[in-house]
């Protein structure tokens, strides 16, 4: 039993913290919200220097060959400073490619970060819907997964995906499409696809919503030429859960700094002759954030271990991590505002930036609630099997 960080993991985390400390992210995000999108620093060169684009790519293809948990550590550091960095899109895409011999030639440039990929998020079937689906542009009805029609060695992919993280500016789009009906009866079988973003039939409409630090894109594919990847169905599903784990890790990183700032303020600010942190009401609300944060951390270990050590449990572990982390960020950002009083709700304070991050993130990549629902689905399925 060893559920603690290795020396290498501690080093990875410290190095990431050092790298990101060079950027004034909070000020930049505030300026971007005020309309100056160019104020956001380009963190990709720093990410390349640190080797993050190749974290999940095997060494033979120029990557670091590390595990999901290592990637979560880096995302946690990004979350601590709300870093606008394109890893949430890039890393799950590289995970699919790394599992696909047919995609091997694409890996080297992605490992160095010379080219950037974005993951096209398609959620795997759950116990109720039984379908691969995508996030809709608006409303509760989930959209149909893209479809792929065979075309020579490759395929042509059509479909629409809304609010795809890090899609604008990506060189390669990697995800899942369902095979269109064939005479052989291969109806709806999921296949991995890699699509050149600059190719024909691809349109990426850049958009932001509420959180200027998060780059999003609406992706429309019309018979876009694609390389068909030979990743297993489990690997395709796993990319979704990897994305869930990375969101969870990033969110918990944000909770860490939100809590630190709130605790420091609660020690310094006095009312009625004593520090506000000495009042039970304030102390208990901060302790509640810590409780949710600590639960989330434990689930990151679960997800990090399960991806390699118990793949059948990865959907449960990653969904649980996402569920707890999403609520922790919600609680943490709201508590940050409350502890700071009226000041916490003003433009100049950082608390609203955490709040905006929480509000948007809990609704991306299926949303926190869908992850919570999936925890129930996985456990009910386990109960049936028992």
């Amino acid at each position: 039993m060893n559920l603690s960080l290795s020396d290498e993991q501690v080093f990875l985390r410290e190095a990431a913290r050092g790298t990101l400390s060079r950027f004034k992210t909070f000020e930049a995000i505030r300026e971007a919200l005020d309309g100056d999108a160019a104020a956001l620093p380009d963190l990709w060169p720093a990410a390349r220097e640190a080797g993050w684009p190749g974290l999940l790519i095997s060494e033979e293809h120029g990557g670091a060959g590390l595990d999901a948990f290592d990637a979560m550590l880096v995302l946690g550091e990004c979350g601590r400073v709300l870093a606008p960095i394109a890893l949430l899109g890039h890393l799950p895409a590289t995970a699919i490619l790394n599992d696909s011999p047919a995609g091997a030639s694409l890996l080297e440039a992605l490992a160095t970060g010379e080219r950037r990929a974005a993951y096209l998020p398609v959620s795997p079937p759950d116990d109720v819907s039984q379908k691969w689906t995508v996030d809709p542009a608006s409303g509760k009805q989930r959209g149909a997964a893209p479809t792929a029609t065979a075309d020579g060695d490759g395929a042509r992919v059509s479909g629409q995906l809304a609010f795809v993280p890090d899609a604008p500016g990506a060189d390669l789009l990697v995800g899942v499409a369902l095979a269109a009906p064939t005479p052989e009866g291969l109806v709806g079988k999921p296949v991995g696809v890699a699509i050149e973003a600059g190719g024909s039939g691809v349109s990426v409409e850049a958009t932001t919503r509420y959180d200027a630090s998060r780059s999003l894109g609406h992706v429309t594919l019309k018979d876009a030429p694609a390389t068909v990847l030979d990743a297993s169905e489990q690997s395709l599903a796993s990319a979704w859960y990897l994305a869930q784990s990375l969101v969870a890790a990033e969110s918990l990183g944000s909770v860490e700094t939100a809590l630190d700032v709130s605790v420091e303020y609660a020690k310094e600010r006095h009312t009625f002759g004593r520090a506000i942190g000495s009042y039970q009401a304030v102390k208990h609300s901060l302790t509640e954030v810590l409780r949710q944060l600590d639960n989330g951390r434990s689930l990151l270990y679960y997800a990090g271990w399960a991806r390699g050590g118990a793949p059948a449990e990865f959907p449960l572990a990653a969904s649980a991590a996402r569920s707890v982390a999403g609520r922790a960020l919600d609680q943490g950002s709201r508590t940050m505002i409350s502890v700071h009083g009226g000041t916490g709700a003003t433009w100049e304070h950082d608390a609203p930036l955490y709040f905006r991050r929480a509000q948007l993130t809990r609704r991306l990549l299926g949303g926190t609630n869908a992850a919570t629902d999936r925890v129930a689905g996985e456990l009910l399925a386990q109960a049936d099997a028992a």
Partner: protein, 405 residues
């Protein structure tokens, strides 16, 4: 990062499993067909079984070898617990004695006390109980009022009341925290004693709870004579000695975080059988939230174990897991009763029992509010609330409180 046994741990596990395969037919049957019914027969059988576990090296795993233990670490204790659970046999009867009170005596007791008490405790020949909490001293444990007065011959006379005492009805000894000096501030005037439960003036009364069952006792002491050599850890050092017990309590809880049976799989099972409930979004959402947090606690337990393995001692943050478990189980009880309807509340059913038990558990081992205070202060470093009892002799504090009331 892994959850696997090392080679040594695997060998230890195989040894424990081998012993259990050989001896599990000798274990008392507590559930199902042929289960023992009579309370005193059950206790006798479980005491005898604890003796066998001790002989096999499956009790006192972390106790030093000098005192009959195995001298092993917390991981081996967990492996042993896991194998006992897998073999579906009862564990030791006196988990409080062996897990918390014995280690306290090992840390603070005299050589005579260690020689006299530890062996019979480990083998279940003498069961122990923990006499700390009182009606007016629970979360604020240092407020105990049970009063021990020293006699001219050095012996003591004890009067007062303890409460929430597990196993007192058949215990041979208790470890008791009493006030021996009221004229100093409250943490300073305390002393720890070993008290024979069959002494004259000791009365044990079952304390029935919401379920109607009496899982705890009240214990009354009316001018009970205690020998001079019954002091553990020195006169006036009772608070420090008590903190050792509470530290071992945290370790015991950390090692058995799922031991209470409040786990996500069990709750999911109750809902899986209902075809409508399992598709109901509200039910699924509630189950998902509860289960995520309980799963987290499982891995918090593994993190604690990893830390213990490296020689770190669990701090007050382990209280967070207790808060999560109890509140998660309360919500699960509500959810399951909502799904099953009034049928869930049959007095002899598992859910009614759980629903009845949990409101009290919220206060066990420190109320949720006190745990949150402690964690806020000791983990987050927030300032304490102003205290009105600091540096004031206990007697003056008492008279103030009495005047206020």
């Amino acid at each position: 990062m892994d959850l696997d046994d090392t080679q040594e741990q695997a060998a230890y596990r195989a040894g424990v499993r081998g012993w259990l395969d050989e001896h599990k037919s000798e274990a008392p049957v507590l559930d199902g067909a042929g289960a023992l019914q009579d309370e005193s027969e059950i206790i006798a059988a479980r005491r005898a079984w604890q003796g066998k576990l001790a002989e096999g090296g499956l009790a006192g795993v972390t106790w030093p070898k000098d005192f009959g233990g195995q001298g092993l670490g917390p991981i081996e204790q967990v492996i042993c617990n896991q194998e006992i659970a897998k073999a579906k046999v009862p564990g030791i009867l006196d988990a409080i004695g062996v897990g918390m009170l014995g280690p306290t005596i090992i840390a603070h007791g005299t050589d005579e006390q260690k020689g006299r008490y530890l062996g019979p405790m480990l083998h279940g020949d003498e069961v122990w109980c923990q006499l700390f909490s009182e009606p007016a001293a629970g979360s604020d444990l240092a407020a105990v009022q049970a009063r021990a007065r020293q006699q001219e011959d050095g012996s003591w006379r004890l009067s007062g009341q303890k409460v929430w005492t597990t196993n007192a009805q058949f215990a041979s000894y208790g470890l008791l925290l009493a006030r021996t000096d009221s004229d100093v501030p409250k943490h300073k005037g305390l002393t720890m004693f070993i008290v024979p439960m069959d002494a004259e003036g000791v009365t044990v009364r079952g304390l029935r709870q919401i379920s109607g069952e009496a899982e705890f006792n009240e214990v009354f002491f009316d001018d009970v004579a205690i020998d001079a050599d019954s002091v553990v850890g020195g006169v006036g050092n009772g608070w420090g000695t008590a903190l050792t017990t509470l530290m071992f309590e945290r370790v015991t809880i950390g090692l058995g975080s799922e031991g209470m049976g409040y786990n996500s799989n069990r709750f999911a099972q109750a809902i899986a059988a209902d075809p409508d409930a399992r598709r109901d979004p509200e039910v699924r959402h509630a189950l998902g939230e509860i289960a995520s947090e309980l799963l987290a606690v499982r891995f918090t337990g593994y993190r604690t174990l990893s830390a213990l393995q490296k020689g770190q001692v669990p701090g007050p943050e382990s209280g967070l897991a207790k808060i999560t478990i109890v509140n998660g189980a309360i919500k699960a009880g509500d959810l399951i009763a909502d799904v099953l309807g009034p049928d869930a509340l049959s007095e002899d059913g598992e859910w009614a029992y759980m629903i009845s038990f949990l409101p009290g558990l919220k206060s066990a081992g420190g109320t949720e509010e006190i745990l949150r205070n402690t964690i806020g202060e000791r983990v987050l470093g927030l300032p304490p609330a102003p205290r009105l009892d600091k540096g004031i002799p206990f007697s003056e504090l008492r008279s103030k409180e009495t005047a206020a009331a």
